[in-house]
Symmetry: D2
Subunit: 243 residues, 4 copies
């Protein structure tokens, strides 16, 4: 019998933590310079940051992408399953390992929209705009989700208690359930991700990410910007189109 | 208010349909022959199927993978979200387009295990074995799932009825919900998939796929085997390890 | 002893032949429509080509790339090694099988620039412009190349005649030697290739391909344009930036 | 007029230098553990190296490949063009930047086989075996290559001296010319490379790499083995088949 005391955790935020990285602007410079100068001039270039900035900007503008691949960042991410479903569509230059509902019992942590999450969708397909929900809508969503999550998790627990395999019982768990993963990418693959999964005033190509994946993307962006500030500035300056 | 009459569809099967393909054994032969003979000898080779079979078997055994990539198969697949979650971890040589819960209202079609689905997991991690469930367990699963699915779908409908955006309301929908996608792959990427997502007496490397993705994989395998019978035989003969 | 009569073939063109394809505009439409409409409305859409054109243009403009992947084209290409060296840098969505200098004796077919090939490079790195050569320069190039090719091929033949392995002897062969390959791609990967390897008045992003790979790209482009004319028009209309 | 004094450098070795890395065995452990235990138990695992070794061996044996991707190694490589031609066929999990014959004048550094390089190929296609050359063959190869390289480089210089663009003049340069590149990969992609490009007594699948790319592969292997000794041992123990 399921525990009537099961405590659900309801979260409106996501966790993104840069676990490790080997990524800085100089990596772009030496990778690009091998084309024209061999490796001998590296020291000189490192003494000339301005020229390096110009080179990075030129590579971004003319879309020479490969020099942005010789670096690596690994993030630990906790977010709802529906976010991971979108995230894992990014195939190129991304490596994933995620918590498994086959190998472990999943924890009762669920997503509910925060007070500032726009709840209402207006316009026709391809032109949707999200607008504020009313207080009544916010209340309805919180109440309905909390109840639905509790019902689903109790059904899951009930099946587990009767000896049903985790991989079978999990069918009833909602896509609002939190999961955890490690994801490794490089600056080029991250820029592709950011171009599609954020909105930004500097973006030349419009994108309409769901807010929850954008919350993940914004935290990844902030961590990356600290590691590779010159590359990050060049990305924004050139319309946030990945090279 | 949600329609109290909402009819749920409960399915224990999956849909896999080969929508189009450009794939046959000769594609492997001419791709491999360009290495050694130029393209002039193609006609001759096509007249000599036995030698072609030997070549395909040699490529498979010694793991020359690239000649198996010059072909293409597109499948339409309907399966639960938890199957698609595993499927889309296959990044290389796979293209996907899936139904979107942001752009359309999702239909109430849900997965329940069939009568022959083993329900109970025994053993320790990495060594799991699935065994038969009791009739009581089968009954419990069906009953619990049907109720949980109905509750979840009604919660979804209730939020939609009050104007909540589809992308928000879907949070409560379970991973047992059916989705639809087109997936395009080639023989090489499909063999990788089959090696991991099926169990088979000829397999040299053990794999422990969840039964539901194996149901999809088996139907893809059958369709592929008809298109490329010599390649398929070589795959089995060489331990079902993708080249 | 090498045959003093060895006949060299000097070519100024490249061979590109679409060997097989499974590619048309409707493939893009049904792949995209699965997101919003399920597959039921396909017939209706096929009856409405104008709406299909609008959809394809929208996908291209807003950079929804995945619907352009459910198709396949295989080309047979003959071009100099220095072209293949650039070509094979394209990793994503490209499959290759090439003639092998380890497994066969390579034929004496070599590249020389045609009369309209610009021979002189002006300007500084990143801003190069090619300009016409003088008749003297053309004559020098033809003469020098023909002689260098003959010397190299005779050295190759001499080593082979003395029993040296092909894989060793080929070291002396120049990158102007012709090779043959099959290459398979889809419309999305091809658009990336064309964006970088052609120059075109509609291109929003500048590119500076070497003329010889552009000759290959132009022929691939022409073959693709016939198979997927609506997609091709949308590519040009949207600045020839791959989605 | 070309400089009659042009000094050619003849090399029989290759350069491989691990420029930077973020790669150790613990990366595999935490990536795998997220499936079953969440991240909380990391400290515990780090205290138990034996259990970690068992986990890594299990992942390798059952071919769970993704945990081996959350690491990164960048190598600087100098080797002949014919080696780079084979190297760059490795598309998945490899990033490249190479010296460009369009942007710089290439240096006269060329490959000649060392005294211990087997020069003679015996047997039929697919079953080749390399055997020792005679002293006469060694002498012939050195002499013929040195002369051919000099002729080719002088032709290159002559065209450059008359104002012909580097991208045109390089057509005559042989595939035995040395080039330089940076290449970034992860342990999983490196294991695929090593499986195909080395011979080794522990290998379960036969491979027939050309000796020169094997020389590069061996040095990459040695550098990787130092960084991830437990993973490396598991690779060898499980037949050197990449997971």
């Amino acid at each position: 019998m399921p525990d009537p005391e099961t405590e659900l955790t309801l979260r409106s935020d996501v966790t993104v933590r840069l676990v490790k990285s080997s990524a800085n602007d100089a990596d772009v410079v030496w990778a690009a310079r091998v084309s024209t100068a061999g490796e001998d001039s590296l020291d000189e270039l490192e003494k000339d940051p301005e020229r390096s900035g110009g080179l990075i900007n030129y590579l971004m503008r003319d879309r020479h992408g490969s020099p942005f691949e010789h670096n690596s960042m690994t993030f630990f991410v906790q977010a709802p399953i529906f976010v991971f479903r979108e995230f894992m569509r990014h195939r190129i230059g991304f490596s994933y390992n995620e918590e498994s509902g086959r190998y472990k019992e999943l924890e009762p942590v669920f997503y509910v929209p925060g007070g500032d999450r726009k709840l209402v969708q207006e316009g026709r397909p391809g032109k949707y705009k999200m607008v504020e929900g009313t207080p009544e809508q916010h209340w309805l969503v919180l109440d309905t989700m909390a109840k639905a999550y509790r019902d689903a998790y109790e059904a899951y627990q009930e099946m587990l208690a009767e000896g049903v395999a985790r991989e079978v019982a999990r069918s009833v768990l909602p896509v609002g359930l939190f999961s955890s993963m490690y994801v490794t990418c490089n600056a080029r693959s991250l820029m592709h991700f950011l171009g599609l999964r954020t909105t930004h005033p500097d973006a030349k190509v419009p994108s309409f990410p769901q807010r929850e994946i954008e919350m993940v993307a914004e935290q990844m962006e902030a961590a990356w910007a600290e590691k590779m500030p010159i590359t990050y500035a060049a990305f924004n300056k050139n319309g946030r189109v990945a090279p």
